[in-house]
Amino acid sequence: EAGVTQFPSHSVIEKGQTVTLRCDPISGHDNLYWYRRVMGKEIKFLLHFVKESKQDESGMPNNRFLAERTGGTYSTLKVQPAELEDSGVYFCASSQDGVGARITEAFFGQGTRLTVV
């Protein structure tokens, strides 16, 4: 079974340009998460999809970031226009739905390293 895949693995763009990151979750996983790790900092939550709906986007930095999950399958995270402080590693994760209070394992992708110059 394929794991969570992210594309590209690395992207270098100039300030002001647009970049779109893609995440393909594990098939059948309703939950999809985006995270970001800026150098030297913690892994920070960005947003959470349940199927195609945004359940929680409280971690999105600002309106330059737009996430979509068409049809509840793959997801894209667009940064437009990119700024220097957007540099970091963007992780995507997916999980099955849990039962009651029990939480399920989240599977993470390898991440996309974004460098804005």
């Binding site: 994760a93 009651g100 209070a101 029990r102 939480i103 399920t104 993470f108 390898q110």
Partner: protein, 112 residues
């Protein structure tokens, strides 16, 4: 969400048992304790999860005392490949939704 506190870093030698303790004094009744491992240039990887007492799998053991205010991840006979950052997460599916929330983690370095 309950706040977690872990050592920032630990050093060990190959073949030793490593125990990483996480404090979560404000853990809620429905909260589960989950540990993740992250290697450089990779995403975090689930290691183990527990609610109380002891849980063991092929990778590690998780010890949770009765008051659940802390937990200890035990890695038996570590090797160089166990060098990674280990994260302790606490939470539940409040309102039907769970968001894995990461702290700073513990950077474990295993020496030859």
């Amino acid at each position: 969400l309950a706040k977690t506190t872990q050592p920032i870093s630990m050093d060990s030698y190959e073949g030793q048992e490593v125990n990483i303790t996480c404090s979560h004094n404000n853990i809620a009744t429905n909260d589960y304790i989950t540990w993740y491992q992250q290697f450089p240039s990779q995403g975090p990887r689930f290691i183990i999860q527990g609610y109380k007492t002891k849980v063991t799998n092929e990778v590690a053991s998780l010890f949770i005392p009765a008051d659940r205010k802390s937990s200890t991840l035990s890695l038996p006979r570590v090797s160089l490949s166990d060098t990674a950052v280990y994260y302790c997460l606490v939470g539940d599916r409040t309102g039907g939704s769970y968001i894995p929330t990461f702290g700073r983690g513990t950077s474990l370095i295993v020496h030859p």
